[in-house]
């Protein structure tokens, strides 16, 4: 999970620091989370975890932990 959060922070988020997010963070509370972040997450899931993830899968996620469950 720690490694996953680091990847989210490095590859997707630009304005949110790594200290601001943990597994229980609500995605809707990440101010910069938008459709671009969704696309980047699909890319991250594909390239780093070899998991095909759809936009609909991501829409159903409430927390960072839910995103983690998609790729594990």
């Amino acid at each position: 999970m720690k490694d996953f959060i680091k990847k989210i922070s490095e590859e997707i988020l630009e304005e949110t620091s790594i200290e601001e997010i943990n597994s229980d963070t609500l995605i809707e509370e990440i101010e910069e989370w938008d459709s671009m972040c969704v696309m980047l997450f699909i890319g991250l899931a594909d390239s780093s975890y070899n998991k095909p993830v759809t936009g609909e899968d991501i829409e159903k996620c409430l927390t960072i932990k839910d995103l983690y469950n998609l790729i594990s």
Partner: protein
């Protein structure tokens, strides 16, 4: 299966024309701040694009391209036997652009002219149609016009489409030549994804009525109406990152080739993040992969000819792997060669 090999057809030249008017993303009011623009440009690779004015259509951009290319190649217009026009933004719903284009260009009447209404995969499809019609040698010279003005179809208040789409027109000249090298094509379609990129009204399933042109806000705050382009960005992203590289690998298997067989890899210019994802999966080097989206955005079916015309290539003769993908959903992949006599023309009248 639609894997096809062709011989006897040569690509003699390509001309592209972009409209003069620049649209700079940093000047757009779609973004909250300059930071927001920078992030968008960093991910998509798009900084600016061109917009055709109200009196300029796809047909006009392609006509100017054709006239310059014909003159550069020193072709006689009476020798042209075939015109295929790939566009989703024709002058009229009826008749086809290709036939109007024939008359305005001054091509003889006993020529075959028709349109192909495909989008991002359209250049590869158009080439495959022209190759198959010419291969036997009955028709000696052909023009493939490919262009779109998608800036006119996207809603200026829709951040999911408007900042991406630019306008451009192109013409590719092809001729029968029994000494030309072989070309290979692989074409793929998935109609279950028809609604991932769609203009909902304007056909006969949903004819235009007063309700079609009313702007509505979607869940992401983007505003569009039913005669505008809608794009489900995340679905298109998933398709691009999984299906496109998989089908390129299948093309390699079918043609018994690999990335080592090519000098350059030229993809449809969707966005930099997605294109780089494909490049890495296929194993092409950065310097072999050409781009044009930074200055022109996503110009629909024109991205491949525009990328060829707006980039320098090291050698005089080049083997190219081209791949168009998008609306349909649809993918076209081809192996083509351009020789040392190949002419390319970039018409850009922008002045600072």
């Amino acid at each position: 299966m639609s894997f096809i090999k062709f011989e006897n057809v040569k690509i003699s030249g390509i001309a592209c024309k972009v409209p003069k008017q620049k649209f700079l993303l940093e000047e757009s009011n779609l973004f909250k701040s300059s930071k927001d623009v920078k992030k968008f440009s960093k991910i998509t690779g798009i900084k600016e694009k061109r917009h055709a004015n109200n009196s300029t259509t796809t047909l006009d951009l392609c006509l100017d391209s054709a006239n310059q290319l014909i003159s550069e190649l020193d072709w006689d217009k009476t020798e042209i036997d075939l015109i295929v026009f790939v566009t989703q933004t024709p002058d009229y719903p009826v008749p086809n652009n290709a036939i109007i284009f024939q008359d305005r260009l001054g091509v003889k009447k006993d020529s075959m002219c028709f349109d192909v209404p495909l989008g991002c995969s359209g250049y590869v499809y158009g080439l495959s149609i022209v190759f198959s019609l010419m291969e036997k040698g009955f028709m000696k010279k052909a023009l493939l016009a490919v262009g779109d003005t998608l800036s006119k179809q996207a809603n200026p208040k829709d951040k999911s489409t408007y900042p991406l789409f630019g306008d451009a027109g192109s013409v590719t000249a092809l001729e029968y030549d029994y000494k030309s090298s072989d070309s290979e094509f692989y074409l793929w379609s998935d109609g279950s994804g028809y609604d991932k990129i769609i203009v909902e009204s304007g056909g006969y399933r949903n004819p235009i009525n007063s309700e079609s042109i009313i702007d509505k806000v979607d869940l992401n705050g983007n505003i569009r109406n039913k005669v505008n382009t809608y794009m489900n960005g995340s679905a298109v992203a998933s398709f691009t990152m999984t299906e496109v590289p998989d089908q390129i690998k299948k093309f390699f298997d079918l043609s018994n080739k690999s990335n080592d067989d090519y000098d350059y890899f030229i993809m449809h210019q969707a966005n930099k993040f997605l294109n780089e994802n494909i490049r890495k999966k296929i194993g092409f080097e950065e310097k072999q992969t050409l781009y044009s989206m930074e200055n022109f955005g996503n110009t629909s079916s024109t991205t491949i000819p525009l990328t060829i015309c707006s980039n320098q290539m090291d050698k005089s003769s080049n083997k190219l792997l081209i791949c168009g993908f998008g609306v349909g959903l649809s993918i076209g992949i081809a192996s083509i060669e351009i020789d040392s006599n190949f002419k390319k023309i970039m018409i850009d009248e922008f002045k600072k």
